[in-house]
Each structure stands twice: as C-alpha cells, then as structure tokens.
Subunit: 159 residues, 2 copies
Amino acid sequence: MLKLSKKADYGLMALQHIASNQYGDVARARVVNTKEIAEEYHIPVELLAKVLQTMARSGLIDSHNGPKGGYLLGKNPREITIAQVLESLEGPLGLMDCSHEKESDTCMQREHCNIRTPLLKIQSSIYQLLNSMTLQDMMGGTPLITIQSVATEQQGVER
Amino acid sequence: MLKLSKKADYGLMALQHIASNQYGDVARARVVNTKEIAEEYHIPVELLAKVLQTMARSGLIDSHNGPKGGYLLGKNPREITIAQVLESLEGPLGLMDCSHEKESDTCMQREHCNIRTPLLKIQSSIYQLLNSMTLQDMMGGTPLITIQSVATEQQGVER
DNA sequence: TTTTGTACGACTCATTCGATCGGAGATCAT
DNA sequence: ATGATCTCCGATCGAATGAGTCGTACAAAA
C-alpha cells in the first residue's frame, strides 16, 4: 500500500544524480542531460524526459536547450524537500478524495463520514515528515528523522 | 499522491461503525450486518462485503452466519491499529517495489539506486505513525500524534 | 545553415481497482 | 427435523489510472 509512482521514483533518482554533479558549488556545475541519466539508471528515456520537464516547470530544476544542454538544479539542495518533488509529479498529498476539497464535493459518505478527521491528522503528519527531509539529507547517509507518538500512551488500559 | 484505496476507506468506516456498537463491553455487543453499514454510508453492498470478508480473515473482526448474523469486533479497539487494517486490505506497506524483497528482485535500478535507503527511512517512519494510532484513538476526538523532525535543523543555511 | 539534442503533445498498452454475479453454508421458525 | 431465509464467500467482469511510446517542433552550438 501507499506505493508511489514510477514517475516519483525516477524523479527522485534524477534529482539525486543532478545534485551529485553540482556539489553545491555553481562553479563546478556540470550540465547533465536526459540520456545520461536514463542510461545510468536504466530508465526509458522518453518517460524520464517527461518527468524532468514536469520538474522543470515546477522550478525544481532549470532546463537548457540545444547541444551541450541539459538540466541543472534550480534551488539549493537544502531547500528542495521530498514533499515538493512528489507534489510536482503526483499532485497534492491526499489520503482520500475529500482531503482538500472546495464546495463541489461528490463524496456520498461525507455526511456520516467518521474517519475524515483522524485521517486528516495522519495526512498532516505524513506531510510534515516528507517536508522535513530535503534533497541534501538524501545525499548524506546520516539519520534524519525521529518520530514520537503519544497516541498509545497508557491511561488505565483494562483488558 | 499516496491516496489509499476505496477498500481501505470502506474498511475503516465499517470498523468504526462496528466498534461504535460494542462500546468495549461484550455484554452490550450488537451484531451489525453488511447491509446496515452499506446503507448508512452509501457503500455498494457487495464491495463492502468483500472488504469485511478480508478483515474477518485477518482476525480484525468475527463473522457470524445465518439470519441475525453479521460482524463483531475481533479484538479490543486499542489493539487494532490503522497499519493492521491497511495491511489487511492493501497488502504490506511499501513505497517502492524493492521495499521488502527476497532475492528475486527484478528492479533494474537496484545496482545504482541512490534513493532506496532514504526512502526506507521515510517508510519506516510512516509505519510507526500508522501503527501508533488505534481504532480506539479514531473514535475519540482527541489529538493523537505529534511529530518531531531534526532533519531540517538550521546549521548555517545560506541563501 | 546544418546538426544535435531538448521540449512538448498526442497516442497506445498494461495493470490495478472498483463493482457485480451466482453459489455455499448456517441459523432461526415452524 | 426440515424447510426457508438470510448471510458469508469465491470467482468473474468492466472501468479507470498509470506506465510507456511515438512523432513533431523548437533552441543553441558548430
């Protein structure tokens, strides 16, 4: 469950690869093209191209046309979060259909729905999680995230 | 992104409904059948039946045949976690295909894959999150979960 | 101007998910 | 005890989402 799409996988791989060729120093920046990434990770070129275009449109990377063209990171790796990447490629985070809806709600269960509120809490927590991890964090091998829960704290559990 | 299936939605709603009719007291337990839930939440009966069957097989609920039959909670609401429900209906948690694989790995990217490790960390955190929230928590309206991240702590971020 | 490589849109195919149908088993009423 | 009714249960069908492909247009370096 909760498997993310191939686009997201490819996008993250590509970003990691592009970032690896810049080292945070613009002077050493090396432009990397679609074909190079596709061959490195055995990804269908056309599909990867589509992914890169989408991310370019979102400002995550900068595209450069023509021979010797390719892609460069559009932001500092510390400012690119996993959440941004996934949102760019898969749309906004939403565990259910009625996550962030306007008035046009077609959900027939809304009136008696009893799970919306708790699921929204979980969704919010997941978003914080994804938004707290950056591309920079993905490159180092350091532990990144701690999670703490108070939901299961004991308060006189009789069984 | 990360939208969970209708089965999961229906399953959680049904569980909440079943639990509401038991109040943790077996003496007051009221058997509730598929049709009742389906009408209450406007869910296709046959599909809901399938969902309930699956959860019964997992031990989350107990099924009772014959007239006046139906379903009852199989465990204490405090011992039923969201993770268990979702795993029962949608299979094990896995952000990518190579999440928990044996030797038969067909992923062509594995050799040069640079995102597997960090994604496994995120996956683990999500699992803790889903496993820390119980059906009992879903019924009360109290705040349940806090999350703390150390990944984005400032250490001289220049921009 | 020619060549090379990216950007972009439309299209096809496969897989998963939602939804449906008919049969088997169990319990209550007679 | 026996029938009738109601439920659970497995197998099947159709629809929608996503993965992957093809062809054209555009931009920059030689």
